[in-house]
């Protein structure tokens, strides 16, 4: 998506990204970015919280209007969880002793399935491009 923003901007259409994966967007480098420090899934505000959504979209419009240089990041002044502000950060894509074997097994199963599908596809569709 960030690569797309760069390309659309280069084509002459100003862009703004609203997103929650700060590192991915900022490493790619986009013209304007509204960072919403939430779990992935609701970058434009919590579900059904209309006022919050309105204000986050408003920040994106502000950024379109007022950013004076590329790579402008504005962080929305919102918090996902007041009681446990960091729990969601730790739980996402968690890797630890409690699930290491489970993840290894899931990976092995996925590779097996991919190989099975690849072999079936190459035997039925010889001209298919990789």
């Amino acid at each position: 998506m960030s690569l797309g923003a760069r390309q659309i901007e280069e084509a002459g259409i100003p862009t703004v990204v609203i997103g929650s994966a700060r590192d991915i967007v900022e490493e790619c480098g986009v013209p304007r970015f509204v960072f919403v420090d939430f779990p992935l899934g609701n970058p434009c505000g919590k579900p059904d919280e209309v006022a919050m959504q309105h204000s986050i979209v408003g920040l994106a419009l502000d950024s379109l209007e007022k950013a004076f240089a590329p790579r402008t990041t504005v962080q929305a002044p919102v918090r996902w969880d007041d009681v446990d502000p960091d729990g969601w950060r730790e739980r996402f894509m968690h890797v630890g002793d409690d699930n290491r074997q489970l993840l290894a097994d899931a990976g092995a199963e996925r590779k097996r399935l991919q190989e099975e599908i690849r072999q079936r596809d190459t035997s039925t569709e010889p001209d298919r491009e990789g």
Binding site: I8, E10, A11, T15, P31, G41, M93
Partner: protein, 168 residues
């Protein structure tokens, strides 16, 4: 909001987390994320209150008979759709924090009604009648050579002046 004290940077590094997560699955070759020092910049062509906004999403539609087996099965194609045709957007196979939240409120990731409020207020000129699907791709080249050029064509057909891009 109350103050919080921290000894470490709080923002999640998805680049680090996903590398470790997939390594734990046995995928040892890490993904190579796009990185640039610079970024392009285009000034607004006219006042924002005269601009038509086009919205780009990573959400997509699944065929009725779709059966998921592995990620490469997913229909990662760019698309354009009517803004009145969002009910069948399906996020179940996208990567997001499914244990923490949900995407049943479309406005939390595709804020067409929120943008309409700004049209009513006179802050922006209009919202495009169509929105644009730019799928998350493993391949940078697919995004750059195939998908974004298609999205740009559709935006030009719709006379979009500014773009709001929202990755889930």
């Amino acid at each position: 909001m109350t103050e919080t004290k921290r000894t470490h940077r709080s923002h999640v590094s998805y680049i680090d987390k996903s590398r470790e997560f997939y390594a734990a699955h046995g995928y040892e070759q890490p993904y190579h994320w796009a990185a640039h020092d610079d970024a392009p910049f285009t000034a607004l062509p006219k006042p924002l209150f005269e601009c038509k906004v086009g919205v780009v999403t990573t959400s997509y539609f699944l065929p009725d008979d779709f059966v998921y087996r592995v990620p490469s099965d997913l229909p990662r194609l760019p698309y354009v759709a009517s803004r009145h045709d969002t009910a069948r957007l399906d996020n179940q196979y996208l990567s997001w924090a499914k244990d923490e939240t949900h995407t049943r409120d479309r406005e939390s990731y595709l804020p067409l009604a929120r943008l309409d409020e700004y049209v009513t207020q006179g802050r922006i000129g209009a919202v495009s009648d169509r929105f644009y699907g730019l799928p998350t791709q493993f391949s940078h080249r697919q995004t750059q050579r195939r998908d974004t050029p298609r999205v740009l064509e559709w935006m030009k057909e719709d006379e979009v002046d500014v773009a709001l891009l929202v990755p889930l």
